[in-house]
């Protein structure tokens, strides 16, 4: 009998979180417990990579037991090349979030750590579920800890931001719920594979496609339903921003990969122009919006939207390529680029938010105008921030480059115009990121507060150092990641061009 690794990765953090709540507010004990549990979850997730068979697109580490017999719902877990890297990302980022909040959160710190641990388990559940109802339960339950995190430990407008976050996401998901129920009644089971295999008429597909679109577009977020994100990011505590940007946004992209493309391929094909259009708007327009931000967190939030635009663009390029060239050359590149971009953005945006968090802990301001010349007082910090900023702008050698490059290459096959518009991100991304870096880090020391800044402490150095290594590793040597997801992407591509009519 194999170890139920996926169950451990899901339930260990949740149990740890509940234990932490039971322990109550004993700060020192609470944070060590949180660190221990999060590291244990990370260690537990490593066998997922080590034991992964990257020659097949089949689900691995499968666990299946009946859960709700009446509705034919199973407790059905498994991972493939798409979900496995995302689970690793989740367990990895959570450890960093716990460390980064070590002494920063004074107010009810046990509840803070407990929320993140429970959130971690639920997010792993989303990625590991192969049963649509199980997926939905995790997907929705995840909102509760995040609602609490933003609302309790957030900034001044936290109540507005967290309510907006919750209601936006809830609105998106309930429509998906109706779609899932509809498909269940057709297929007789909530198994995702059954949804992918069932035939659906064009009208059904279109309605289901749009129900999914609302749910996932809000999560990604795509223009024009992105407005909750800047608010949520700005008001959330650093850890909340990191998790939001690094993992929660990926769920939208994951949803497209797992549901929209394989379940409603014909509708996806006929509405690919919509997704591609919205993605390009996100890349270009939101890039300009990011340029004018005066708040660092808001700027990174908008840059997240622009980068996630690349993900959705990459995912839906296959159809445009097929229509234009009659073949699928380059389509795999688009999908792979989208996936790599998701992982990379998880690392880079997480790191950027942590950098802002480092500054915010010292100065209690996120306004760019309050800073200037930080590099003079915090040289180590400046070195890290410049690295992450360059990765954010897509510098070759960093992880940010790989995903963007693959997507732009793929979009050339679809239309040079797509490539041209997508390529503007190289200019815009560099502009808004580096301009912010210039204003914050360089120049004369702006004021006494900046002059009094102290450089990174050991804990912060550790967190940013680990992230920097990961960003460089993925940028210089993306092969292991591409190899792991290869067969799954190939399989997905076959599914998404296979008509169901």
């Amino acid at each position: 009998m194999d170890m139920p690794i996926l169950s451990i990765v899901i339930w260990l953090p949740i149990a740890g979180g509940l234990l932490l709540l039971a322990v109550g507010e004993r700060a020192a004990m609470g944070r060590w417990l949180a660190l221990g549990v999060s590291i244990a979850a990370l260690l537990a997730s490593i066998p997922l990579y080590a034991g992964f068979d990257s020659s097949t697109a089949a689900m691995q580490f499968v666990e299946r037991t009946p859960w709700i017999a009446t509705y034919n719902v199973d407790y059905y877990l498994g991972v493939d090349g798409i979900s496995m890297p995302l689970i690793l990302l989740t367990t990895f980022i959570t450890v960093l979030v716990v460390i980064s909040a070590w002494t920063v959160i004074q107010h009810r710190s046990s509840q803070y750590f407990a929320s993140f641990l429970i959130l971690e388990g639920l997010m792993n559940g989303v990625f590991a579920s192969l049963d649509a109802m199980l997926f939905y339960v995790f997907w929705e339950a995840m909102l509760i800890p995040m609602f609490i995190i933003i609302g309790v430990w957030g900034g001044p407008r936290r109540v507005y931001a967290t309510l907006k976050f919750f209601l936006y996401t809830f609105l998106g998901s309930v429509l998906m719920l109706v779609a899932l129920v509809y498909m269940y009644l057709q297929a007789g089971s909530y198994e995702i594979a059954a949804f992918q295999d069932m035939g659906l008429g064009m009208r059904e597909q279109t309605l289901i496609f749009f129900a999914f679109l609302v749910a996932f577009a809000v999560k990604v977020p795509m223009w024009p339903v992105h407005t909750w994100l800047p608010d949520a990011h700005v008001e959330a505590p650093t850890g909340g921003s990191v998790i939001l940007a690094a993992i929660m946004l990926k769920m939208g992209g994951y949803g497209f990969l797992r549901f929209s493309l394989p379940v409603t391929p014909d509708a996806s094909m006929s509405y690919d122009w919509l997704i591609i259009g919205l993605s390009l708007i996100a890349v270009v327009y939101i890039g300009f919006v990011a340029l004018v931000q005066t708040d660092m967190k808001k700027l990174i939030a908008y840059s997240s939207i622009a980068h996630m635009g690349f993900v959705t663009l990459g995912l839906f390029l296959a159809y445009a390529i097929q229509v234009r060239t009659g073949a699928l050359g380059g389509a795999v590149m688009g999908l792979e680029g989208g996936m790599v971009q998701m992982i990379s953005h998880g690392l880079v945006s997480g790191a950027m938010f942590l950098c802002v968090g480092v500054l915010y802990d010292r100065m209690h301001s996120r306004e760019i105008a309050d800073y200037g010349g930080v590099a003079n007082t915090m040289p180590w910090f400046a070195a890290f921030m410049v690295l992450f900023a360059l990765a954010n702008a897509g510098l070759p050698g960093t992880s940010g480059f790989v995903g963007e490059f693959l997507v732009i290459l793929a979009s050339f096959n679809a239309s040079p115009w797509y490539a041209f518009l997508a390529g503007t991100t190289l200019v815009l991304g560099a502009a808004y990121t580096l301009w912010m870096v210039k204003r914050v880090l360089y120049g004369e020391v702006a004021n006494d507060n900046v002059a009094a800044l102290t450089d990174l402490n050991g804990r912060e150095f550790l967190v940013l150092g680990i992230l920097a290594l990961a960003v460089l590793l993925l940028g210089l040597w993306p092969a292991p990641l591409l190899e792991v997801m290869g067969p799954t992407i190939q399989h997905l591509l076959e599914q998404m061009v296979q008509s169901k009519l």
Binding site: W67, G151, L163
Partner: protein, 483 residues
Amino acid sequence: MNPVPAFTMPDFWPAAAEIAVLCMACLVLIVDLFLDDRRRWVTYALCQFTLLLAAWLTAFVVPADGQLTFSGTFVSDPLARVLKLFSYAAVAAVFLYSKGYLRERNLFKGEYYLLGLFATLGMMVIISAHSMLTLYLGLELLSLCLYAMVAFSRDDPVAAEAAMKYFVLGAIASGCFLFGVSVIYGLTGSLDIAEIGRAARTLDGLNIHLLFGLSFVLVGVAFKLGAVPFHMWIPDVYQGAPTPVTLFIGSAAKLGSFALLMRVLVEGLGPLQSSWGGMMLVLCILSIGLGNIVAIAQTNLKRMLAYSTISHVGFILMGVLTGTTLGYRAAMYYTLAYVIMALAGFGMILLLSRRGFEADQLDDFRGLNARSPWFAGVMLVVMFSMAGVPPFLGFWAKLAVLGAAVDAGLTWLAVLGVLFSVIGAFYYLRVVKLMYFDEPADSGALTAAPDLRFALSFNGVLILLLGIWPQGLIAVCNQVLNF
């Protein structure tokens, strides 16, 4: 000359639980006379014992194979058994939750518990009714007890006003119901529910007289349920009545209303589903819409929960109106789930109340997390469950109803329902916001008695556990409604 039919002794066993409750209630009534205020707990203990006795009888002694008795006016079937057992549990919880509150307000009198027992008896009669007359008998017994209970806090003008409203509107509803029944009797020549069902099947479904009678019956039922536009009494009564009474009306009494719905419309007038389905559709949409929207504007928690009840009733109706077994099962599951959630929700108000202080304003929940993280957690579970967020019980109830609606080809209704529930989520979230994001106005520790704390904690944990393992309760509903 016909021989005089011999009087045969009816079989009393199917009604053993009712008889036991009645006898015990009379006994308690007498015992209570001889107790002084210090020993009033004896009344309380006797009432709880009565419920326990009735539960034992219902579960192990009374046959539940659909046996009729009292000339076919009384039935004891699996549906009756399950609904009765749930009623006992709900009433027992209501009694327990209310004890401390009543004692602190010098309302710890035998009357509350006795009226509660008689109301329970009324519910049991409704649940087991197999004739329109039995049904009406139970309905009136339940309603009259509830009117008196609302007015029970004698010197409170708000409660008196609420009781008056409740009485007048309730009397109109009963009148409507009775009038409808009389029309149906005139057409079918019978008061027996099965007989009416048979007659309705043979009559033309568009028989105008039958529809006329049906409309009046439906209005009466909708009044009792509190479906829009017959909901006007709900907010006032919920707010005006003493909280223990609100708890009774808001939770346990819902089982009676559901039984009424099942017995009259499904078992009796089931063949007319194509007619009442449409009427109920209107009630359903209006209830879900109005309940969720108006609840947002409330500052009083009892009133907010009143509007939330209205919206939940809309969801129950959504299950029933489909006219399918799947729908009836879903509606029953929803009702049971709602009763469990409502018990915990109103129970929280009782928990926070203390001598001279009613915790019925939303603001009274401000900063509860700082005062008691555990009970803030319980309320969080209740609120998210009512909002229909997984993994709590309320989500599965909503899912069952939505599934029934989609299955019946009413996908648009399901979409409408979920959209309104997003609006509804807002006011539940507001309670969570008050508890977690705000600092408390008074930081005193909670003073509630240990038994209340324990029962309420159990109630909250139950909502979570039934959400993680929903199969049990779903299976119960499926087994009971098996036609």
